[in-house]
Amino acid sequence: MTRERVVVAFVGRPNSGKSSLYNAVTGEEAKVGNFPGVTVDILTATRALPVSGVAEIADLPGFYSLDAVVDPATDEGVARRWLDDATKAGARLVIVQVLDGTQLELGLRMTEGLLARAEAVVVAVTQRDRLAADGRDVDVAVLEEALGVPVCAVSARAPAAQTRGVVFDTVERALTDQREARAKSVDARKVAARALVGEGHGRARTLTERVDAVLLHPIVGPFVFVAIMAAVFSAVFLIADPAKSVVDFLVERSREALSGALGHGLLASFVIDGLVAGTGTVVAFMPQIVILTIAMEILEATGYLARGAFIVDRLLRLLGLSGRSFAPLLVAHACAVPAIASTRIIRDPGERLRSILVLPLMTCSARIPTYGLVITAFFGGRSAFFRGGLFVLLYFAGIVAGLVASAVMRRTVVRGRGLPLVLEMPSYRAPQVRLVARRAKRAATRFVKDVGSTILAASALLWVLLTVPMPGASPAVEGTPAIERSVAAGIGRALEPVTRPIGFDWRINVGLIGSFGARELMVSTMGVIFGVERADEDPAPLAKSMQDAKKPNGEPVYGVRTGLALLAFFVLACQCMSTVAAIRRETRSLRWPAFVVGYTYALAYLVAFATYQIAGLFGAT
């Protein structure tokens, strides 16, 4: 007898306790399954069943209905395609429907469709402990009789091994089960009423109700919301920033060590300034990605994310987005890369794309030191009040630009209003540390794998542009930095006619080319051009050199107009190859990252032009 492959698929509504049951059944090791063309994760693990042998066990994304598929890229579409593919592949498919015992009727509505779909079906009722706390229980025998399939009831409090045993035994029963015994139709309401035993006193319900009375209070609610968001933010700055400094320090040390070992040749420079610096960029992002993923997972698992969406939905609707977009928009103020990944929670594909396209405009944490350095370099002589005001202005300019861009895109590039908010408000629950940790780990590995490779390639290319001499360039003149003869300098000079109306000379152009990869590189690139060592640590000498730079007619090269235009450019341009790489990964296309680069740079140029010209009208130099 040849044994057919057995595939066990866990399906269920979101928040039904599916992931924690899956975790209990498969243990720690599970890998993210490869499913072509989608970004939704499907976990798979291989485990031995007691009788039927080795089985592949998959955790499908949670969904509310297999029929109401809005878009194939959403969780519903992915789950359905996965089930279809598994059926076609000829495996013996066992569907384990995970069903929240406190919402029995809602879960049973899906059961009828599932019964018709697979060779074997198991219904696993979770949250038995919560039912018990409410003085109720679920009658497994009644459910089995009504549905005609094996049923088990589990509790999150029970040991994992016990839960695994119960689930596997039920799966085995399903594999020997007669299909004819199955119910043709399921009246969810009647079945639920019969299967639930005991008088509920509604204690579980009241806990959520009591918390909601505070967190969704018309006045207190928004304050709590702002406080929670502020806490998430502080976590990023308090934990991720020191961690990033440590990474920067280690990268700097390894560069020094390497330059000691490899010398100062071209190859050494490529390894040190191209590859090691690129790796440093990748690693430096990790603390932020991990912390933000953890924060978002906790908010999601506790049920607060839906509450936040409820509170801010009205505000975001004005701008063509919905409450679901708030988390990505918020995260983008720390870093656009994890924000782009977090857009997966947005169900409407058009809205999700629009969010991805405007996230790079938010004032991310990498812009803050860059603004500081540019302001010091150009406005060092101004009052602290002026510089502070400029800083705040720049910060909010990003939000305004993003919201305007979203409103414009809704009418042009990505049409459609987007589905108005229809969102489940799950009961509050304590997050499971293991699940959160696992997701954070996955986010980190995925970042290294997908985004890391792009960043490395781009770093290598930038190194070539900034280091390799322009073909036909005049031979090296003693005392001028090599960068003046580089391909980048050639490009910078060629761009001068284009950038003259916005007040940029070739040196700023080279700085912009150098900072395409990461905007914080602007200052150090300018430092190299002006021959100022370590300009990113102390910008004052660079600021002095730039203020002293004079045109042949004696006017300063870099006046206030240029400074303002440069800042306007920095607010808008997507100078971050990590962001571009993340957009490429999430949209699975080259078109949308190219669009983002195109539109942000075009916008940056236009606004810089307007700033430069208007400042000129007001008599600024």
Binding site: Y64, S65, L106, D212, A309, F310, I311, V422
Partner: protein, 68 residues
């Protein structure tokens, strides 16, 4: 209130039904977000749903007197 039907487009109606709001359902409005924001509903089957005002306005309901 009992839901009688909804004057919304296909995908939205299907989505409402999937989340747990279909004709015949008995619903209670728990609260509404300020400034015309979404409504917080609970159905008798135990679903709690936030629904945007513009969708909620398209849902036809019959008011039930004996609501607790």
């Amino acid at each position: 209130m009992r839901v009688e039907g909804a004057a919304v487009e296909g995908p939205v109606a299907a989505w409402l039904a999937a989340v747990g709001l279909s004709p015949g359902e008995v619903v209670t409005i728990l609260r509404r977000a300020p400034f015309g924001g979404p409504l917080h509903l609970r159905t008798e089957a135990g679903a709690e749903i936030a629904v945007a005002l513009e969708i909620a306005q398209a849902i036809l309901v019959e008011t039930l007197e004996d609501q607790p």
